[in-house]
């Protein structure tokens, strides 16, 4: 390993093994990291299905597509439905949604379930746009195909 300069004190009688072990541990740890050993630990949001399944109380982020035709404005925000293809949930949002909020848009709603898990009470909506880019006239296909999971 390059990190042992020549001028380091010579390891005591046959003590080199500790450096070899340390180097192997480092390489192993980095390899484990690069091979994705920690994949899936850190989750910024839950899909609709996961959120329905877990039924957690407390704040969470819920991701899905806005169901076309489900958006209706209320006095202090909007209500709409989100789906991940399997489950569909009603969301009651207070406050102005962001500019790109629209039918079919991939959204992340932040908030918590109301009593009885009937609807999701959201107070912050983020747009979870994908990594696909195209000019307006080339494609009018569903912009929300991207759902990292």
């Amino acid at each position: 390993m390059a990190v042992i300069p020549e001028s380091a004190p010579a390891p005591a009688r046959g003590r080199r093994w500790i450096y070899v072990v340390a180097a192997l541990l480092c390489v192993g740890a980095i390899a484990f990291l690069l091979l994705g050993g920690l994949r899936g630990n850190i989750v910024y949001f839950r899909t609709v299905s996961e959120a329905v399944q877990e039924n957690d109380t407390g704040r969470l982020r819920l991701a899905g597509e806005v169901v076309p035709g489900s958006i209706s404005e209320t006095d202090d925000g909007v209500t709409f439905e989100v789906t991940d293809g399997n489950e569909t949930v009603a969301v009651v949002h207070r406050g102005d949604p962001p500019d790109l909020f629209a039918e079919g848009a991939p959204v992340v709603a932040e908030g918590e379930w109301d009593d009885g898990f009937a609807a999701f009470q959201s107070d912050r909506i983020l747009i979870n746009h994908g990594n696909e880019y195209s000019p307006p006239d080339v494609s009018s296909e569903d912009p929300s195909a991207e759902h990292p999971s």
Binding site: P11, A12, R15, I18, A22, A23, G37, L38, N41, I42
Partner: protein
């Protein structure tokens, strides 16, 4: 001398110095307690917020205290040219690193024990699975101690080491902060299965930096 004996020699020396000077007991520990107290002032204790965020607050307090413990560990060496003695002792760089790491880890574990009791009592936190807390706590502490020792010697002998150590150390231990907090949340809630991946992350971090420390410490000590 075997490696274990050398490690024990260095760790024993540091712990004896601590036992006599009582800096950790008289200054670092009260500092951690004051940090916990300040969190209680800053966050309204009536609304159950404190018990909810207790794991995060606990680890912030531990990290801040760890910065002090690391500075202390190398301030001891700076006095009366003790570090020259360490260099000339013929001990392996790896032994010195592991010994100092062990001494810091032991002190931090004691500190965590006391602060943990403080959190349970004052933040009204329920503890459900102690085993998870102990496992995550030990893994996180070894990681913090190893990085702390590594950056401690990196900044040793520099005029600005008091400010440099936190700047170098705190970003590096961000994953520990994240993992330990999540693992503790799971441990307090009594769902060990959720804690396991985080304990894994903590162990990985500890192994990585123990390895880096063993490799690099010798040459850094030589220059310190």
């Amino acid at each position: 001398m075997s490696l274990a004996r050398e490690v024990w020699l260095v760790a024993g020396k540091d712990l004896r110095v601590e036992a006599r000077s009582r800096v950790t007991l008289n200054q670092v520990l009260p500092f951690g307690a004051v940090v916990l107290l300040l969190f209680a002032f800053a966050l309204d204790p009536d609304r159950g917020l404190l018990s909810e965020v207790a794991p995060g607050l606990f680890w912030v307090a531990v990290l801040l205290a760890a910065v002090l413990a690391v500075s202390r560990s190398f301030a001891v060496e700076a006095e009366h040219g003790a570090i020259d003695g360490l260099r000339l002792s013929g001990l392996d760089g790896a032994s010195v690193f592991l010994g100092k790491t062990l001494a810091i880890a032991v002190q931090l574990l004691l500190l965590e024990l006391v602060l943990g009791i403080g959190v349970v009592v004052f933040y009204d936190t329920a503890v459900r699975s102690v085993a998870v807390l102990v496992l995550a706590g030990v893994a996180a502490t070894v990681g913090i101690a190893a990085t702390g020792t590594l950056f401690g010697v990196l900044a040793a002998g520099l005029r600005t080491r008091e400010t440099l150590v936190p700047l170098l150390l705190l970003p590096i231990v961000a994953p520990v902060m994240l993992g330990a907090t999540r693992a503790f949340e799971a441990g307090l809630d009594g769902v060990p299965s959720e804690a396991w991946p985080w304990v894994q992350l903590l162990a990985l971090f500890a192994v990585l930096y123990l390895g880096v420390g063993v490799l690099a410490f010798g040459s850094l000590l030589e220059d310190a």
